[in-house]
């Protein structure tokens, strides 16, 4: 068994506002192993995004502990590409922020962009690209600093259905071939089943781990192929029931 790369140990987080306080996660405990693709699903408003913010270190837990080995890259619902920068400059953004803007890193990032079909668009501006290509550019930007863990916050939900299936396919193959650890937050059961090695189901707020499943698709990692397998609908049904209890 591979090493643990991320661990939540009894993590409780309380938000404070003028009107009062809300407990977003309650003694949340789970872990992610190196190279694993974990999907976290839960009822809407259960604090899924909070889990990612905690993993990224953007929030500090009220109690409990989050331990992470290595760096992480965050990918959001919308691509959030800066419209005044070219695609290339957008991909270099995290390198500039982390002061790793070396020729070698830049070349590697451009190599990734070319490998995954953005080579002709490096000097274009984001509004000139389709939604799917923009999301792919956002993923390359996330990968530019070679993070150890990818945190994906519903990265497909802003796309139309056709594009969503395609981008899902792209993102999956990129993450698998780069052998990255990934955590996907989603409310879409079929997306979770088609992408992940393991699924964590959260309860309603305050979020706790309700169920955990190791998926049994073997070596089949392509989302479209998985959707054709008999296990797919079986898993869908199980998760659907668990989410609605």
């Amino acid at each position: 068994m591979k090493n643990e790369i991320l661990r939540f140990e009894n993590v409780t987080l309380t938000y404070h506002t003028k009107r009062g306080e809300t407990t977003a996660t309650d003694a949340l405990t789970f872990s992610v192993r190196e190279g694993e693709f974990v999907a976290v699903i839960g009822p809407s408003g259960c604090g899924k995004t909070t889990v990612l913010s905690l993993a990224a270190g953007l929030l500090t837990p009220s109690s409990g502990e989050v331990t992470r080995r290595g760096s992480c890259g965050y990918m959001l619902q919308k691509d959030e590409l800066f419209p005044w920068r070219t695609i290339e400059k957008n991909i270099f953004l995290p390198l500039e922020i982390k002061r790793q803007n070396t020729a070698e890193r830049r070349e590697r990032a451009i190599g990734l962009a070319k490998k995954y079909g953005l080579g002709d668009f490096l000097l274009s501006y984001p509004p000139q690209l389709s939604g799917g290509m923009r999301q792919r550019a956002a993923l390359i930007r996330t990968l530019a600093t070679e993070p150890d863990i990818l945190l994906l916050d519903e990265p497909f939900s802003a796309l139309d259905y056709q594009t969503r299936l395609n981008v899902c396919e792209d993102v999956s193959s990129i993450i698998r071939s780069e052998e990255k650890t990934a955590i996907l937050i989603t409310h879409d059961i079929s997306e979770a089943v088609s992408l992940a090695d393991r699924i964590i189901v959260l309860t309603k707020r305050p979020a706790r781990v309700a169920f955990e499943h190791e998926l049994d698709f073997g070596d089949e990692n392509r989302p479209i192929k998985r959707r054709e397998k008999p296990q797919f609908s079986a898993w869908f049904e199980i998760l659907w029931k668990e989410l609605n209890t």
Binding site: F82, Y125, L151
Partner: protein, 268 residues
Amino acid sequence: MKKQFSEEHRRYLAKKKRKLAVVWACRIGILVLLLGLWEMVTALGWVDPFLTSSPSRIGKTIASLYLDGSLFYHIGVTLLETLIGFVIAVALGCIIALLLWWSETLKKVLEPYIVVLNALPKIALGPLIIIWFGTGSEAIVFMTVLVGIIVATLHMLNAFMATDDNKILLLRSMGASKFQILSKLVIPSSLPSFISMLKVNVGMAWIGSIMGEYIVSRAGLGYLIVYGGQVFKLDLVMSATCILCILAAGMYFLVVLLEKLIVKDAKN
């Protein structure tokens, strides 16, 4: 390389061109018509040109100002006061807005003061300005800055505060410092607002300088207007006003030009 367009597209382009020509013809037509009417009613003696002046009398007045050498002197005085006031107001406004964006506490503390200063009619400070700055150009520049600075500050602060939260989250997840968020995101995304603030402040600067010249001055276009009014030389009042129109429009178009230079990148 010349592109080959279809017949339909050529007709579409021709139609667009025709429409633009019509708009321009109407614009110029209205101006000619107004000036012509104005000239006619005074020439025919229907109204007294002593009260309304007339285009030909305005032309003569400007010519005589030019001949005695004072035309460009007055224009120069006002233009310089306006430009200096404009630049100081914009620069200080941006700096203050940056400080207020940086510190939430500072913003909260200063909010009521800014609201009051914004609502206060700056001309009420006229007597104070004369006493503090004397009757020279400094007083007028100060008035210009006063009129423009609050508008510049509020406009830019709004722009800074409107920065997309998700983009800030993205930068924070990359480990960006506050200064990096400012330089990589907040300032570049506020560029269009900066241009629109400049456009608003061109108008503010002219209000400030002419108002200043109304209160204290011995030269400038505002001085000519006030002086002309006092001695009932309406030709002079109208002439100075016309020159003001042209200068203000010119400055506005310079900002539009700047906009095209700066913003062209993003729209390419």
